[in-house]
């Protein structure tokens, strides 16, 4: 299959299923808490409704506030295009270099933070300060964790790192701490438990929701879609490292194209059930307790790296 087609298919599939993933995790969490919960397709309706709604822009804001939704969504879309989520070896795969991926995620976080501060409210500022802290302190953990995968797979692109996915992990068990670290980073980057509470009713404890508090209408839809896509990207990435089956490549025929959405939906569903279980079984950390979380993640990554380097020497 054509590499350009692979990337296109991947972006379309991920963006299409991203709201579903959010719907599934909400529904499963509600079930685990003994509630009935909203229908799993509700996020689609939310996005469509928001797109049709009139937008209210704060008088305190500037052009940065209006530019941020585009940049935030663009970085989410770009990470959905370059990472190996539905297909490997797409035309954008060389751009999945770990430094580039970290840079793209950071760019999105930066504009989210700028938008939160631009609204001039205390909630936005509070959320921005926390988001910036989380992004800044997770950066070393992210780089070290991806470096361990790079060392294991011999490639510094995430696309190449999947070469050791699945059974390859068992022959290099020293990568497992890095996998755990990547899980912690995924929770932190996506503003999930135990770093942030995505469904709180109290603005004071929010991170992500506090920053987008002033958005409404289509801009809020873009921001929500961006965070849904980002969640789906991380979920698929983690699943693919553990189970790299069913990925499209340049070698697969056009028939596999029909199966790709189904495989992706199953992977996303499994990841979201797991996420709901994780989130329902732990309490949110106090914000000032987060350094342990960051350094724990960094330590796991470093452990992998050190073990991997020793394994290489032996």
């Amino acid at each position: 299959m054509n590499p350009a087609l692979l990337t296109t298919v991947q972006v379309v599939v991920v963006v299409t299923f991203a709201p579903l993933a959010t719907g599934v995790v909400r529904r499963v969490k509600a079930f685990l808490q003994g509630r009935h919960g909203p229908p799993v397709l509700l996020p689609y309706w939310t996005l469509l409704t928001l797109m049709r709604k009139e937008m209210v822009l704060s008088t305190s804001t500037s052009w940065v506030f209006r530019a941020a939704p585009y940049v935030v969504l663009a970085t989410a879309l770009l990470s959905a295009a370059v990472l190996p989520l539905v297909a490997r070896g797409g035309i954008a795969a060389p751009l999945s270099h770990m430094v580039v991926v970290a840079g793209i995620w950071m760019l999105g976080a930066v504009f989210l933070v700028l938008a939160g501060l631009d609204s001039a409210g205390a909630f936005g500022g509070m959320g921005s300060s926390r988001e910036m802290t989380i992004s800044a302190f997770l950066e070393p953990a992210l780089i070290v964790t991806l470096a361990s995968f790079a060392l294991a797979s011999g490639s510094s692109t995430v696309d190449g790192m999947l070469a050791i996915g699945g059974r390859g992990l068992l022959s290099r068990p020293w990568v497992l701490p890095a996998l755990a670290s990547l899980g912690l980073i995924a929770l932190g980057e996506n503003a999930r438990y135990p770093v942030d509470n995505p469904a709180t009713h109290l603005e004071l404890t929010m991170v992500h929701e506090a920053m987008v508090l002033e958005y409404s209408g289509p801009y809020l839809a873009l921001m929500e879609l961006a965070s849904m896509v980002k969640l789906a990207v991380f979920a698929l990435l983690l699943v693919n490292i553990v189970l790299p089956a069913g990925l499209l490549t340049t070698a697969t025929g056009i028939v596999a194209l029909a199966a790709a959405p189904l495989v992706t939906a199953v992977k996303l569903g499994a990841a979201m059930v797991l996420l709901a279980l994780v989130e329902s079984s732990m309490a949110k950390l106090r914000f000032y307790g987060l350094p342990e979380y960051f350094f724990g993640s960094l330590f796991l990554g470093l452990t992998s790296l050190a073990l991997g380097l020793f394994a290489g020497w032996l």
Binding site: V56, G125, E139
Partner: protein
């Protein structure tokens, strides 16, 4: 005319224009003289930029521009290394002079033109001289002229704090210059009139001990000038004090001239410094960057934040320098070349974005009459064009894609990743340190830059003067926009930038498994691809926004604040924004927090006025410099006991000296 001829004409003209500007500036009271000064200050860098560009792009062989008895008969020479730094210097000085032409006219009351104009020209001229000198004596002469003109420029506004900062700067600069003179004296076997060519041979005749001593002195001199910890104390004090276009020159160009000196002396005299030098410079550089980036998040004044960020970036440059030195000594030349390319890329990228940011700070302070973050805000609505340029510069300062500084970081990290496969314990440990340290610094650098931009440009203004600010004149804004565009172009067009650098630019390929890395196809073409992909993603986001069925209806209202009207007092402050950094890293920062509460009514202790104060615990001055100074004072005080006024004791001392001399002599 040949390329060599064009290059030499351009570079000589650049120096001559600086001299003309210095002379014209002396007559700074006359308007015509000032106009001539500004014209020469802009014409000089244009000629220099053209000359160095032609020299680099046409790959001209090293070129002599002629000698003069005034410069001790050592010819002015340009080679690829100095041409790269000349390009950097002239790019920065062009934009700084363009900005300065309006800025110095408007700020005449603060910065007397008769002082600032000639000194700025001398400052630029002496930096050109340092880069062109081929003899040690002329190098030292220009070096001192550079230090002294910068010293006077730092205290140009005549304030007490500026004088203190300038004297601290002068003390460290003279200490460094002394070390440089002694070091060069050792290298030239007692003579300061050697040229770099003769130095290369005479250093071979030195004993290993003398050579190492000279290396320590020379590296100390350049490191203290560039602001490597623990000799960086002057930088965050002095750089913010100068007029903004001079701050831009100091951070953008002068620090790079110090790095040039380091590269020149080490390449001439010690082409085979042992690996331990690489490790120590790497460790010092990383430590500098990590500490400085924390203070960049704590400082509350624009130019102070920028100065700390300069310390951080110089730390990164030393990290890259040390890393490439280590890799070369351990026998990995391809990896060393990649790290070296990252260093040159970072030098140019930092020169562009940091001078732009200092000019931007000048423009903001010019309009809002304050540089304090807690008094600014809301400028994006008042200065929209400036805010776009400064946001670009801040993103470059945060090393985010697709700017040149990101490409430099990418080059270094890929070299460090590839080094993990070398199976050389020394190299592997250094690469892990580089990976962790760089990521820590990168994360907090983003924090500092976001904080800088947000609290100047976003939300509601926090003071009446910030509320009244307006967009600065085009001649102030355009140089800033130019530097932002240059920083972007450096990243997006990096595959085509190689001819401008003294080394080959490359991002090593993504494969780590090949064992000893090969010089395969460069990964640098990914930089423009990334920019294109980002642009495509932005278009896609725009299409989603404009999808059929979506509405464009918009209404303006105030920010929701629990039903109350909102004003600037409800906003987050810059101090509050970086509170997590201070708290998480409190063992390094060691700030003292003082809380004072006074009840409004004596009978009710719960309703009270609160006052909070943060005090930084001394910093490097309090922890290192003052104890050393006290030690010297104590030793001096103890020695002073010799001077007790008893004549018999003095005679005994003379006798003892005589006996000692005789004993030594016989």
């Amino acid at each position: 005319m040949t390329a060599a001829g064009l290059a030499s004409v351009g570079l000589v003209a650049a120096a001559l224009f600086s001299a003309i500007a210095a002379l014209a500036g002396l007559a700074g009271r006359s308007r015509a003289a000032r106009r001539l000064h500004h014209a020469a200050m802009i014409a000089g860098p244009v000629a220099g930029l053209g000359g160095s560009f032609v020299f680099l792009a046409w790959r001209v062989a090293p070129l002599s521009l002629g000698a003069s008895p005034l410069l001790f008969h050592a010819p002015l020479v340009v080679d690829r290394l100095s041409a790269f730094f000349l390009l950097l210097l002239h790019a920065v000085s062009l934009m700084a002079s363009w900005f300065g032409a309006k800025y110095t006219e408007d700020e005449q009351d603060t910065y007397p033109p008769r002082l600032v104009l000639p000194l700025t020209a001398v400052f630029v001229l002496s930096m050109q001289g340092v880069l062109l000198s081929s003899g040690v004596a002329s190098f030292l002469l220009f070096w001192e002229a550079m230090s002294l003109s910068a010293f006077f420029l730092v205290m140009a506004d005549g304030e007490e704090d500026s004088r203190k900062a300038a004297l601290l700067y002068l003390a460290i600069a003279q200490f460094g210059a002394g070390a440089l003179i002694v070091g060069s004296g050792i290298l030239g076997a007692g003579s300061l009139f050697a040229t770099f060519d003769t130095l290369a041979t005479s250093v071979g005749l030195l004993s290993p001990g003398a050579s190492t001593l000279a290396a320590v002195l020379v590296v100390f001199a350049f490191a203290s000038k560039a602001g490597l910890a623990p000799f960086h104390a002057w930088l965050p004090e002095a750089h913010p004090r100068a007029p903004s276009h001079v701050s831009a020159l100091m951070s953008g160009a002068m620090l790079k001239v110090a790095i040039y000196g380091l590269l020149r002396f080490t390449s001439v005299c010690w082409p085979d410094l042992p690996a331990a030098w690489g490790t120590s410079l790497l460790a010092l550089g990383l430590a500098t960057a990590m500490v400085a980036v924390i203070y960049a998040n704590i400082a509350r004044e624009i130019k102070r934040i920028l100065a700390w960020s300069s310390v951080e970036n110089i730390g990164l440059v030393f990290t890259m320098f040390g890393f490439q030195l280590l890799l070369r000594r351990e026998g990995w030349p391809v990896l060393a070349d990649a790290a070296q390319a990252a260093m040159f890329m970072h030098l140019l990228a930092h020169a562009l974005f940091k001078s732009g940011l200092f000019l931007g700070a000048g423009a903001v302070m010019h309009g809002a009459h304050t540089g304090k973050l807690e008094m600014l805000g809301g400028q994006a609505n008042r200065m929209p064009r400036l805010s776009v340029a400064v946001l670009g510069l801040c993103l470059a300062g945060a090393a985010l894609p697709p700017f040149g500084s990101f490409v430099a970081e990418w080059m270094l990290l890929q070299a460090a990743l590839t080094s993990l496969g070398t199976r050389n314990a020394h190299v592997v440990i250094a690469s892990v340190a580089v990976l962790v340290g760089m990521a820590f610094v990168a994360g907090l650098a983003v924090f500092a830059m976001v904080r800088l931009f947000s609290f100047v440009f976003l939300a509601e203004p926090r003071s009446a003067q910030a509320r009244a600010a307006v967009e600065p004149a085009g001649s102030l804004g355009r140089p800033i926009a130019g530097l932002a565009a240059a920083g972007l172009a450096l990243g997006v067009l990096s595959p085509w930038m190689s001819p401008l650098f003294p080394v080959k630019l490359e991002v090593l390929g993504p494969s780590l498994s090949a064992g000893p890395p090969s010089s395969g196809p460069s990964g640098l073409w990914l930089a423009p691809a990334l920019a294109a992909a980002l642009a495509a993603a932005l278009c896609l986001a725009w299409l989603i926004r404009r999808s059929p069925g979506s509405t464009l209806r918009t209404r303006r209202s105030h920010t929701w604040d629990c039903g109350q009207p909102i004003d600037a007092t409800m906003e987050y402050t810059a101090t509050g924004f970086s509170a997590p950094v201070r708290f998480f890293l409190r063992d390094i920062v060691r700030a003292e927090k003082h809380l004072v509460f006074r009840p409004v009514v004596p009978s009710n202790p719960w309703i009270r006025h609160g006052q909070m104060e943060f005090r930084k615990a001394g910093g490097i001055l309090g922890r290192l410099y003052f104890p050393v100074a006290r030690l010297i004072e104590d030793v001096g005080g103890w020695l002073k006991q010799l001077q007790n006024g008893v004549i018999q004791f003095y005679i005994a001392l003379i006798l003892a000296t005589l006996l000692l001399t005789l004993w030594v002599a016989l």
